[in-house]
Symmetry: D2
Subunit: 312 residues, 4 copies
C-alpha cells in the first residue's frame, strides 16, 4: 500500500493516546486504529502536530508508527518532521520498512521565501531518500510558512516523490482552484489534495476539487459521509450533515485548546481510555466540558453517532 497521487477520501489524523500518567496507551492505539477503519476512513496519519509528536522520544515515535502500521488495514502515513535531517531519515526509513504507505513533512517555521521553501524540501527528500512517497504539509496558521500555488507547483515539479498536499491554508479555497487549474492546463502534474483545518471548510473544498480530507475531527464518519455525498452530487445533503457538525468542528479547530476538545470527544466516544496530553498542555475546564457536552447532545439530534452524548 504505497501512497500515490490517486489517494482520496478521509485520512484520519490520529492523536497519540496516553495513560493518565503520560505513558503511551497501547490499548487505545489498537482501538483507535480499528475505529478509523470502521468509520470508513481511507487512511491514517500518525505523529502529526496534533499527535504531539514533538513531545515523543524517538523510540516512542517508532513504536507508535509500527503498532498502527501492524494493526491497520488502511494505508498509514507517518509524520517525520524534525529539526535535523538525520532523525527525519531514520524515522522515515524505519516506518517504510515497517510498511508505512508514505511520510509527511512540514516546513520549519523559519522558512519565508519560495527559494528557502523549495530548497528545504529538496534537501529533506535527499536526506530521507527519493523513493519514499511523501505528503507536503501546508499549514500557515500554525507554522507561519506561506506556500503559494506557484511554490507548491515548483515542489511538485522538482520532487517526483511528492504525491499529496495536506492543504490547510486559511483562507484556502482559491488555492485549491488554482492548483487544479494548473493541473488541468498541464502546468502541474497530478497531485492528491486532502484538506485539513479540522474540516472547517470541507463542505466547500470538495466543490473546489479537493480529493477529501486529512484531519482529526472526532467524528471522522461524518467527514467520510460528506466526501461521499459531495462526490455523488448530493450537495444539499452534504451541507445538511456538515452544518450539524460545524459547531463542534469549530471548537476542535481552535488553536491550543482544540486538541483537548478532540481527545475529550474521542474519550467520551469510547475510543481513547483517557484524554491526557503530555505536558506542557492546556486542559478543559468543567465549564468548557459542559459546553462541549451540550453541543454534542445537540448534534445527536441530527447524527445518531453522537448518541452517547444524549444521556451525558
Amino acid at each position: 500500500m504505497s501512497l500515490n497521487t490517486s489517494a482520496r477520501g478521509v485520512y484520519a489524523i490520529a492523536p497519540t493516546p496516553f495513560h493518565a500518567d503520560g505513558r503511551i496507551d497501547h490499548g487505545s492505539i489498537d482501538r483507535m486504529t480499528d475505529f478509523y477503519a470502521e468509520a470508513g476512513c481511507s487512511g491514517i496519519t500518525v505523529l502529526g502536530l496534533m499527535g504531539e509528536a514533538p513531545k515523543l522520544e524517538p523510540e516512542e515515535s517508532v513504536a507508535i508508527a509500527e503498532q498502527v502500521i501492524r494493526r491497520s488495514t488502511l494505508p498509514v502515513v507517518v509524520g517525520v518532521s524534525a529539526p535535523g535531517f538525520a532523525p527525519m531519515r531514520r524515522l522515515a526509513r524505519r516506518s517504510m520498512e515497517s510498511g508505512a504507505a508514505g511520510v509527511m513533512i512540514a516546513p520549519p517555521p523559519a522558512l519565508r521565501s519560495d527559494e528557502q521553501i523549495v530548497g528545504y524540501f529538496s534537501q529533506a527528500v535527499e536526506a530521507i531518500g527519493t523513493d519514499i512517497p511523501w505528503v507536503l504539509q501546508d499549514y500557515p496558521l500554525s507554522l507561519g510558512v506561506v506556500m503559494s500555488p506557484g511554490v507548491i507547483a515548483r515542489i511538485v515539479a522538482e520532487i517526483p516523490s511528492c504525491v499529496m498536499l495536506k492543504h490547510e491554508d486559511w483562507p484556502g479555497l482559491e488555492k485549491i482552484s488554482t492548483l487544479r487549474s494548473l493541473q488541468a492546463t498541464g502546468r502541474m502534474r497530478a497531485l492528491s489534495i486532502l484538506c485539513g483545518n479540522g474540516g472547517l471548510f470541507l463542505d466547500l473544498e470538495t466543490g473546489r476539487g479537493a480529493d477529501g480530507a486529512m484531519t482529526g475531527y472526532s467524528f471522522p464518519e461524518a467527514l467520510v459521509d460528506l466526501v461521499r455525498l459531495a462526490a455523488a452530487g448530493e450537495r444539499d445533503r452534504a451541507h445538511d450533515l456538515f452544518d450539524a457538525h460545524l459547531p463542534l468542528i469549530r471548537c476542535e479547530q481552535q488553536p491550543s485548546i482544540g486538541l483537548a476538545v478532540r481527545k475529550y470527544l474521542l474519550m467520551r466516544r469510547g475510543i481513547l481510555a483517557s484524554d491526557t496530553q503530555r505536558k506542557p498542555s492546556v486542559c478543559l475546564t468543567a465549564r468548557a466540558i459542559a459546553e462541549i457536552d451540550y453541543l454534542a447532545a445537540r448534534l445527536a439530534r441530527h447524527d445518531e453517532r453522537a448518541g452517547v452524548f444524549l444521556q451525558g
Copy 2:
C-alpha cells in the same frame, strides 16, 4: 450618550462604504447607519480594522465619523488607532466634540510584554485625554499582541477611562470567565465585555458573561436576537438561530477575504451600493460568490432576513 461600563447588546462594526472608484460613498453611510438602528443594534463602531481605517486620509476619517454620529440615533464608537499619538489625539477629540460616545484603541503589533502593553495604553490615554471613555481592543490573531486577563485587569485598574473590552482572543472563552471572576471577587472593577471574531463563538460567549457582541457580521439582527434569547434563558433557541448562521459567520471570519464576503453580503442586502474595497485588497472570484450565494440561500430557509438570496 457617553460610553460606559454598562453597555450591552450588539455594537455593529461598520465597514467603510466606497464607490466603485474608491471615493467614499456617503449615501451608503447614511443607509448603513439607519440599518444598524433598525436591526436592533445598541451602538455602532466606525473606523475599525474592518473599516479599512489605515487606507483613509485623516480628513476622510473625521468626515466619516462625523456623518455617522450626526445620522445615528445610537451611540457611536470611533476607532482612533494610529502609529502616532498626535493624530490619535486629534481624531479622538474631534470625534468626541462631534458627539461620539467613546473611542477604540488597538495595540500596535510590536508590543509583547505586559509592561509594554500597559505602558502603551497609559501613554495613549495621556495623549488623547483622560476624559474620553475608550474601548480596549484585544485581537491577537490579527495584531499579534497577547493580553492576559491579568494585563487587562491592570489596564482597567490603572486607567479609569477604559470602559469596555472588545474581546476577540481565540480561544477566548476562559478569558471571559476569568475576567468575570476577577470582577466578582473584587479584583477588577466592572467592565463591559463585547465579543468580536465575527461572532464565531457568540453562542457560548453569552454563557460566559459577555455583555454582547461588537462585530461586523452582515446579519446583525441575528446577533441581536441571539444575545436577547441568551439573556432570556432561551438557550436552545439561541443555538438554533446561531447554527443557521454559522456557515456564513465562518466565511466572514476568514483573514483577508472575510471583509470581501461581508461587503458583498451587505451589498446584496441593499445596504451598501457597492462592495468595493480600497486597494490593495482581495476580491471574490465568481466561484466564491456562488458559494456565498448558496450558503445565504440555505440560511434563508431558517431566517427570512436572508430571503433576498432565495431568488439569487
Copy 3:
C-alpha cells in the same frame, strides 16, 4: 535628476527633525539638507522608516519632501510606503512634480510568498504610475518580509521602473554576490544596490559589488570615505576607518533605541536643533547618553569629525 540604475555613493537616510513640542523643525531640515551635501553624499532619502514617516500627517509629508527637494543640490528619494495605494500615489506624484529623483517603497509586513511580494509591487507601481523610478526596500529584520535574490530578479524583470535595491537583509553578503552574478550572466538587468543596516557590514558589502550605502548613520562623511577608499582599492585604509566607527554604528543599528542614538549624535554635531521624536518613542537615559559620549570621544581620536565630543 532622475534616479537610475547607475546611482552610487552614499544616499543619506534623513531623520525628520522635530521641535521639542513635536512640531516639524524647518530650520533643522535646511541645515541637515546642506550638511548631507557637504558631507559628500550622492543623494538624500526622506520619509523612510527612520524618518518617522508613519507618525506624519499627509500634508506634513508633502511639505517635508518639498522643502528638502527645493533646498537640495543632490537627488532626493521620497519614501512613499503607505497602507493604501491612493495616498501612496498622491505622495509619489506630488514629490515627482516637485522635483524628486525617485521614490522608495517597502513591502507591508503581511507579505510572505514570492507571488504575494511580486504581486504587491506590481500593483503599487500600477497605482503610482510606471514612469516613476523607484527603490525596492528589502528590510526583513524590521518588516518581516523575506525577498530571495530570485524574487528580486523577478521584480526587476517585470517592473522596468525599479532602478535600485535598498539592501538591508541580515545576513546579506551572499545576496549581493548572487544578484551581481545574476546580472553578470545576463539573468538580471543592471540595478543599483545601496546597503542599509546603518552600515554595519559596509566594509564587506563594497567588496561584494554594492554601489554604496543608503543609510542614516550620523557620520555620513565616514561612509562616503569608506566607499571611496574601497573603490580606490585601499582596502586596509577603508577597514581602519570603518573599525573606528563600528562601536557607534552598532549602537545606531539597534532596533527601537537606534533612532534616539542617531538623533542625539546629529544634535550634538549641530545639525539638528533637538533630538525629539514624535510619540510613542523611546528615549535615551542619562546613562545611555554618557556611553554614547564616551564612544564618540574615543572615535574622535581616529576621526577628527567627531572632535566635538572630545570636550563633551
Copy 4:
C-alpha cells in the same frame, strides 16, 4: 560545583563538534573542553541553541553532557530546553547526577503574555525538580519571547531555583540597569547576569552591572580579559581590546550564518577538527571565508591569539 547567584566571568557556549559525516566528534569535545579552561573561562554551557541541540538524539545529548562534565574542571551548565517536559526532566536529572552545575531553559516561541511566561517556567521547574539550579534564557531575537524586567523579577521571586539570567535582549542595556536597580532597592533578590548576543555589547554591559558573559565567541580569552579589565576599572583598555574584536564579533552574531563563522574560526584555531554542522545548515562560501580570514588577520595585529591567521 553547584551553580549559584554569585557566578561571574565568562561561561563559554560550546558548539557541538561533528565529524564531516555528521557523527559526534568526541576528540574535539575533549580538546574544546580543555581549551575553555585554558582560556580562563569560569564555566561551560553545552547543548544551547548554538550547540545544535534540536538536531541531537536524546542519547547523544546525554553523552555530550556527560563527556564535557567528566572532562571539565569548570562548572558545566546543560541546556535542557525541549517541547515536552518529560524529556526535559530526563536530561536535567541525568545531567545533575553526572555532575552538572545547573541547567538552562529557554522559553518556547509561542509564549507572549507575562502570565504565560511565568506559568511556563513554573511548570518546567515543577517538572525537572525544584532542587536543580537553572539559568533563564532571555533571547527575544531568536525565540520571539519578550521578557520585561518585571516578568524576570516575578520568575526570580516565585522560583527560588532560578540563579542566573542569560541576558541577550537587544537593545538590552537598560534591562540590566533596571534589574540591578530592582535588586538594589530590595525588590528582587540577587541574580547572576551573564550576557549573550555573541558579546556585541559586552563593553557596555559590564558597566551596567552584568557579571560577565555567557556566549560562544570564538576568542573567549578576549571576553575573559575584557571582563577582568572592566572589573579592574581599566575602561579604556577594555574598550581597546573590544574594538579590535568587534569586526569579528559582529560576523559571528549574524543569524543563521553566525554559527558557521564561529565553527570555522574554532577549526582554524585548532580546537575543532571540522566545522561541520548537522543538516539542515548554512555553509560559508569561499568568498565569506576569505573575508573572515582577512578580518582575523587584521585582529592578529592587535591580539596575538589570532596569530594563526597571519599566515592564512
